[in-house]
Symmetry: C2
Subunit: 546 residues, 2 copies
């Protein structure tokens, strides 16, 4: 046992406060509770048509959203909530029945546990003595204990509640509602597994499941499973459960499957388990899928249960019929994932090569400058980063030289877009994406009519937006921004190169980097060392005017 | 770090298989995916009106149901999913944009993380270069790092997605959709806490939070919180979070509150936290409540976040507008729990006393017999139970004698009902409820016209139904059933007493008890000892004919 902290206050008020939290956040759902705290905890509809059969269910708390979360048009008329994992009292059940039942009578649904049988049972008999028409359905869907005559009730109870709620809403007689609910209860099978038990408030979690094992056939109150079996992954577990379920259920053409999260299983795991059961041996027989969702939980148990109901037209209709209940999952049809072809635009719609000797000359010179600066930039980066700025830019330069004859040089917009592609294919890490953004945005601006100088400035602005760095943050922006600003104001290249140099040199005096690896270094480590990216920009421009 | 088992197969396929499980269980929701696994993981609507603005969102996986679970009419047009906690690639984002965007353009929504900014950013620029009209909203709602200029995006992104989805569905222009989404992103504030970090598949869970502490201001990828503070319960935690949120948010007349489960917080805790925030100092200002629900999770993190949005008429309308998305919670109004008075029928509607000297004599004799048998029955029970059968029945007998003058003796139906009440008020445990059921059901049968003999037999049957025991299970039924059977067939009391004696004696030969404490005992312990309940029935009937 390990003490576990939880988001609670005093244990004594937990259930009442939680129910009030549920009600407080339910405005518009037409819910109320009976004024009987703390002993009588009954959540009920305020919009029940008194001419219809009332559906009352309940049991111990700790299984939320069941059953209070299922009160509403189309499912339950009232839910009777006990303390944690404890049956509600006879008086509480009787209060629920008397509060919601009209001349059409009441169907009482509960799970097959001794405490519930006794308290709901006596309440039902008392209600009968008071003249209430009442029928009972006891849910015993757990197939994990085949030898026992008194199977437990687990998550399959939801099928029974929805089917009963549907027929009641349709105006069926108590006899019909009870008959349909009993048929569902009779035919339904469930089984659960867990990798951990649940954490009891103020007590903790029992660490009883050894590594490499999984509990099969556990109850929903932290009670041990029927057997501990070897655990070798989701797929094998689901296959075993499906084998047992389909071995026990009545043969039918199609089934509804409820995939219930017992507590802390992640949505990723639940979706994966859904995949594994629906693509497994019996998957094709599953027509309707409820969930995956946390519906009948066991606090924070890391486990799940599967419940299977043979479908009839009436059951399918009942399960699919709309309800006003938030916790009820939309009932979906099992289908093969629908695949849509990738958009054509993605498939390397490379623009055709075009000639522009002046531009080609500039690109070749730029590549030469970057190749020559490789060692120097690496050395600089080794002092404030991981020593690869020079190599990364040299790699880009080599690649750019190689593909130059295939690039669309005739139009600046096309050229910038092509450079963006080359950069993001060649350079890794965030710097590759950031330069890719700069050239893509420049291409877009050029296409919209901007001069190449203004287009590059627009690209820089986009790079700053996405990258989150600005001048003064000790990045290549400190050299690039002043240079592009001068160029976009029709300044000449020598002035731009001069501004880049001043900017690069200024980074050596910046004692705090805001982004990148240099941001992990102290002022003492940075002092006197220029940012390698800014230095690269300065070297490039200085080289181009030489 | 502790290795933790999970419901997965191979880690490499986890996200793709989980997404396919999601799609397989979504029939009827008009969803599909782009055919680009494993690198391109895009879930999209198949029923998008191409004349409307497309809403594309996404980010790393591990936050389910966000964002794939929010694709559908009224919210997202497509979701781009990365690997676990890793941004999707530029190509994946671009594929999503190109697949769903028509002439009306596309709004791209993502959270403020470097990886997302870069990949979504470059994809957006590429899409622009391909002629797509595109706008961007970056969500930075986390207020836990006040000093940082780049606040993280957490669960508040859902407000932005719903508001954008609403205006897009209404046919608004890209400019309007982006403006409303940006306004929501600008005004929204969020903060999160956790009692544990999340379990990384194949790695485990970092146990970094000491007992008695809680992490405030954590991220959604398992990254540590901004501060570890003393933990002294749900209420104090919620008060602190509310104080920070309301201190940071724009003053407004009313707010919408999103209560987001980060993973493994139980529904009970979530409802309690909802109660505490809505009844706290600022609770009255909260008008709309979204959740509590698991919406933007961090795998199985035991924590939650609160997000606050100042409401305008447009925002309220957008949040309340219906959507076809299962994961989207119904937006509810905050209201005080609605209390309904307890049904009058419960309030001790005691039937008036009435006389029947013959019956009173029998009751007094029965009480005398049970009082005299106390020690003997206790001794018998001490061998196979907890030694209190005699005392329990003597307690009942004493109470029955005392209240006899107040009971309605003139009609059997009323008398049986009254005895049922006396029994369940006096006797504890299951035996009290079971005998209460017997007499309640007998009263009901008598009221319907049955003779007292047949009424008692009907009561016995009900007791067997609820109690789950039958003849042969070594209970009082083994004496009671044969006796009541004879009586109901118009046999005389001596024959019934004789049958009860035979039945009680037979229990001494039964080597297995199916219910009650005796069921824990071995055959050797039971051999030769009669069941105390059956013995009590035999003694009672033998006494009555003496």
């Amino acid at each position: 046992m390990k003490m576990h902290r939880q988001f609670i206050n005093r244990k004594e008020h937990l259930i009442c406060d939680a129910l009030d939290g549920f009600l407080r956040s339910s405005g518009g759902a037409n819910l109320a509770r009976l004024d009987g705290y703390p002993s009588i905890k009954v959540i009920l509809r305020t919009d029940q048509d008194p001419a219809l059969v009332a559906i009352v269910a309940g049991g111990g708390s700790g299984h939320e959203p069941a059953h209070a979360g299922l009160v509403g048009a189309g499912i339950l008329t009232a839910a009777v909530c006990g303390e944690l994992f404890a049956s509600p009292s006879v008086d509480a059940v009787l209060a629920a029945i008397m509060a919601v039942t009209g001349n059409a009578g009441c169907l009482l649904i509960f799970k097959n546990y001794m405490g519930d049988r006794l308290n709901f049972g006596l309440a039902a008999e008392r209600a009968r003595a008071l003249g209430v028409k009442i029928e009972i359905v006891i849910v015993k869907d757990d197939i994990s204990l085949p030898a026992i005559s008194q199977a437990r009730g687990i998550a399959g109870v939801l099928f029974v509640e929805k089917i009963a709620g549907h027929f009641a809403a349709e105006g069926a007689s108590l006899r019909t509602v009870a008959k349909m609910a009993q048929k569902a209860a009779d035919e339904l099978v469930s089984i659960g597994v867990a990798l951990s038990s649940c954490t009891l408030p103020g007590i903790g979690r029992e660490d009883r499941i050894p590594v490499g094992k999984i509990e099969l056939g556990l109850g929903i109150h932290g009670e041990p499973g029927v057997e501990q079996i070897d655990y070798s992954g989701a797929r094998q577990t689901v296959d075993l459960m499906a084998k047992r379920l389909f071995g026990a259920v009545r043969p039918a053409r199609a089934y509804a499957l409820l995939i219930n999260n017992l507590g802390s299983t992640t949505p990723l795991e639940m979706n994966l388990l859904t995949h594994d059961v629906l693509t497994g041996k019996h998957g094709a027989k599953i027509k309707l899928v409820l969930g995956p969702a946390a519906l009948v939980t066991s606090l924070d148990m890391h486990g799940f249960s599967l419940s299977l109901l043979p479908l009839t037209g009436q059951f399918e209709n009942a399960l699919r019929s709309p309800s006003a209940v938030t916790a009820w999952p939309l009932v979906r049809t099992h289908l093969k994932p629908n695949l849509i072809r990738l958009p054509v635009a993605l498939k390397s719609k490379a623009l055709p090569a075009s000639k522009n000797q002046a531009l080609a000359d500039i690109v070749l010179r730029a590549c030469k400058i970057l190749l020559e600066a490789e060692a120097r930039l690496n050395a600089l980066d080794a002092k404030v980063g991981d020593g690869d700025t020079g190599s990364t830019l040299a790699l880009l330069a080599r690649h750019l030289k190689a593909v130059l004859p295939t690039l669309p040089l005739a139009r600046e917009a096309h050229f910038f877009a092509a450079v963006s592609s080359v950069i993001s294919r060649t350079m890794g890490g965030s710097s590759g994406v950031l330069l890719g953004i700069l050239f893509a945005a420049a291409g877009h601006a050029a296409a919209a009519g901007a001069t190449w100088q203004k287009a590059l400035l627009a690209g820089l602005e986009m790079m700053m937006t996405y990258g989150g760095a600005a001048p003064g943050d000790r990045t290549l922006i400190d050299a690039l921004a002043p240079a592009l600003l001068i160029l976009s104001k029709k300044g000449d290249l020598p002035s731009a190169a001069c501004a880049a140099r001043a900017g690069a040199d200024a980074t050596a005096k910046m004692t705090r980097a805001k982004v990148g690896r240099a941001s992990y270094l102290s002022a003492a480590n940075l002092q006197g060392i220029a940012d390698p990216g800014a230095e690269a920009v300065a070297l490039l421009l200085e080289g181009l005017i030489r």
